[in-house]
């Protein structure tokens, strides 16, 4: 039987404006929400008929322009969100691309499992998360999400379906390449067995860069998660101060903690203030004076409350900090914000990150939030991870500061590249094609060879890909 012919192309009534998670970049496209692989194949045909390119968009959590595509057909996966199989005996789950991390943990938790790699928010969809190859606070010991996949299903733009295992040639190419080589339509992943829905969490407050690195080194061989907040306003011998957390799975069986209601985040702060309004209180503080104060207050609280102590925290509470305050990013409007994350080998991390913070202070463009994590290398084509550290920085964007901010990021990029560091397309807004060439080297040549082979019509793109001349 021949495939159904594509529906008549009426783009006029499908136009939508979408933005990156940072709300700095936005563009218009034509929305399609397929329910099956067959419908995606029809969209390929429509794109060819219309002479347009296609943007694959997950939950829209990429901060910059990797999830927007001007005048593209936007293929969004929220209706391909079925969990196809789940086997508590083996811990293997088979999902469509539109399944979110929240869908995943809610489905498996009561059987004593947890997704081994999660991002700072539970909203990303699996397809997008694999496209960017997300990592969590346990990257140094568990690797990226791609490393948890045992079977990957990819649709090529010629309509061919590939089913790949980690031993197959293209497996490490489709994961991490931001949806530019093929469409990840589903995957089977191995989940992590857990006994408790809580973690044991240790907190302390490194006072400078040396103490930050030393604290990570102290815990890197024995902890399950590590993350540290950095106060980018601190100077001199206080530079690099922050609050470090290490966490461990608890191996005593605690059934009650494996229920979703134990995990659900509270709707209010201290039972009083609805979280839904918190961003409105943050907005007046969302400037360099307010954020300098908040960073100082956080540091002060860290030093005085719970320092060097261990407490228990739910997996959801520890993992999904970005979901704590609904709509927090609206505090950055009207200009939005960018997140800048660079990955630096461990031997250069202190020098590069401390200089990045100095450059921010010199430019008068200090990041309102700094977060440091430990990583390990992997084999994916556009791998961002190194045997070292990353620092993620949130910068408020205004009409007046954008050019200066871009220049600052270019300076910071240079430090990273000189140190043999890497970048992450999920967090990028400022890289240039020459930076990507220096970062990816021969992997970029392989990407272009694959692109011309697997997507010869160059159907798959994004504004990020256009900016970086990748598609």
């Amino acid at each position: 039987m021949s495939p159904p012919s594509p529906p008549a192309l009426n783009l006029r009534d499908r136009v939508v404006r979408v933005s990156g998670f940072g709300m700095v970049s936005n563009s218009d496209g034509y929305l399609f929400r397929p329910t099956s692989v067959a419908e995606i194949v029809q969209i390929f045909e429509l794109a060819r008929q219309a002479g347009r390119q296609i943007l694959l968009r997950g939950a829209g959590r990429t901060y910059g322009d990797g999830n927007i595509g001007a005048e593209c057909l936007l293929v969004e996966f929220s209706r391909m969100n079925r969990i196809l199989s789940w086997d508590p005996a083996t811990g293997l789950i088979d999902c469509e691309a539109g399944v979110t991390i929240e869908d995943l943990w809610r489905h498996i938790l009561e059987d004593g499992y947890w997704p081994p790699v999660v991002s700072g928010t539970m909203t990303p969809q699996l397809g997008g998360a694999l496209g960017m190859n997300i990592h969590g606070k346990n990257n140094y010991c568990t690797g990226t999400l791609g490393e948890q996949v045992v079977e990957l299903r990819v649709l090529l733009t010629n309509g061919e379906m590939l089913t790949l295992t980690p031993q197959d040639d293209y497996f490490h190419d489709f994961i991490s390449t931001a949806g530019l080589l093929g469409v990840i339509v589903g995957a089977k992943l191995r989940m992590k067995r857990i006994d408790s829905g809580d973690l044991r969490v240790f907190a302390n407050t490194p006072r400078n860069w040396d103490e930050q690195i030393a604290t990570f080194e102290r815990f890197e061989h024995e902890s399950d998660y590590m993350v540290s907040w950095i106060d980018c306003f601190a100077r001199g011998d206080q530079a690099g101060r922050g609050q470090f957390h290490a966490a461990w799975y608890i191996h005593e069986r605690f059934e009650a903690s494996l229920r979703p209601d134990h995990q659900d985040l509270p709707d209010t702060i201290m039972g009083l203030v609805p979280k839904s309004v918190v961003w409105r209180f943050l907005k007046p503080l969302n400037n360099r004076f307010g954020m300098r104060f908040l960073n100082w207050a956080k540091d002060f609280a860290g030093k005085t409350l719970g320092n060097e102590k261990i407490h228990h925290q739910s997996l959801v509470g520890f993992s999904f900090l970005l979901d704590y305050v609904p709509n927090w990013r609206r505090a950055y409007l009207p200009g939005g914000f960018i997140q800048y994350q660079s990955f630096v080998p461990k031997e250069h991390a202190k020098r590069v990150f401390s200089r990045q913070v100095e450059l921010q202070q010199e430019a008068g463009l200090v990041s309102f939030l700094g977060v440091m994590k430990r990583h390990r290398p992997d084999n994916f084509l556009f791998s961002h991870a190194v045997d070292g550290y990353s620092m993620a920085l949130d910068f408020k964007v205004t009409k007046r500061n954008w050019k200066r901010l871009e220049a600052l990021c270019h300076q910071m990029n240079e430090l990273v590249l000189e140190a043999g560091g890497k970048f992450y397309f999920a967090k990028d807004s400022t890289l240039r094609p020459q930076d990507v060439r220096r970062w990816l080297g021969s992997n970029l040549d392989r990407f272009f060879a694959l692109k011309s082979n697997l997507d010869p019509d160059n159907l798959l793109t994004s504004d990020l890909a256009r900016r970086l001349k990748l598609g």
Binding site: L11, R12, V15, V16, R17, S27, A70, E71
Partner: protein, 240 residues
């Protein structure tokens, strides 16, 4: 990030100035008009920033396809300005249907064809600015130019309706009502003290940020507030 704009009626006068000023300010502009040679000459001043699209607004069946093509070429759309307009010389006792139809076709139906497309798109993306270049001539039905006056009144009324439809969706709709401006269209009027099209364009773009109906000269607010209130019995006797 530069804006993306379409100016219809871009080959001369206010439209030409709008295109040049938008490009100067960093926008990418689709310049739409009949006269390709004129458009090419304008585009040469800002290579890559001004894109030429030849189109006669009388061919309004072309508009949906051309609108989509322009949006695709520009990589999006933030602003659409309808500036096309004709005002053929009409004698004091002349009633010429061909001239009148041309004015309705260009000044009203052309505007509706383009701005309906813009309204449909901007309503869906919940952003964007629509600007129509009207005229003070639409404020009263004067003896000299019955259909021109009617066409500009119709345009203003249409734009007001769009404004009322779209304001909740974040779409700005702006009506600009210049007085007599020194353009090819008004050459035959042989008037003195006409406005400079560059100045009109500058004020138009300044008003683009806020929905509403605007005169270009401050004095026009007062003058036309009075003119609009003159009783018809008196108005028909005035040499206006």
């Amino acid at each position: 990030m530069g804006k993306k704009a379409i100016v219809i009626g871009a080959s001369s006068g206010i439209g030409r100035e709008l295109v040049l000023q938008l490009a100067r300010d960093g926008a990418t502009v689709a310049a739409v008009a009949r006269r390709t040679d004129r458009l090419n000459e304008i585009a040469a001043q800002y290579p890559g920033k001004i894109l030429v699209f030849t189109h006669d607004v009388l061919n309004n069946q072309e508009v949906p396809g051309l609108f989509a093509e322009i949006a695709k070429t520009l990589g999006g759309l933030d602003m659409v300005i309808y500036n096309s307009g004709v005002m053929p010389e009409v004698g004091p006792s002349e009633f010429n249907f061909d001239k009148d139809k041309l004015m309705v076709d260009v000044n009203v139906l052309g505007a509706i064809a383009w701005l309906n497309e813009a309204a449909n798109r901007f309503a869906q993306v919940k952003a964007g600015t629509i600007i129509g270049i009207g005229s003070v001539a639409g404020d009263r039905g004067r003896a000299g130019q019955p259909v021109y006056n009617m066409s500009k009144a119709a345009l203003a009324s249409y734009l007001e309706s769009l404004r009322n439809r779209l304001h909740k969706l974040g779409v700005k709709v702006v009506t600009i009502k210049p007085g007599p401006t020194a353009t090819e269209m008004t050459e035959h009027l042989k008037m003195r003290g006409m406005m400079d099209p560059a100045k009109v364009a500058q004020i138009t773009l300044r008003k683009a940020g806020k929905s509403g109906e605007y005169y270009v000269k401050f004095s026009h607010h007062l003058i036309f507030a009075i003119i609009r209130r003159i009783p018809s019995l008196i108005f028909r006797r005035l040499p206006l």
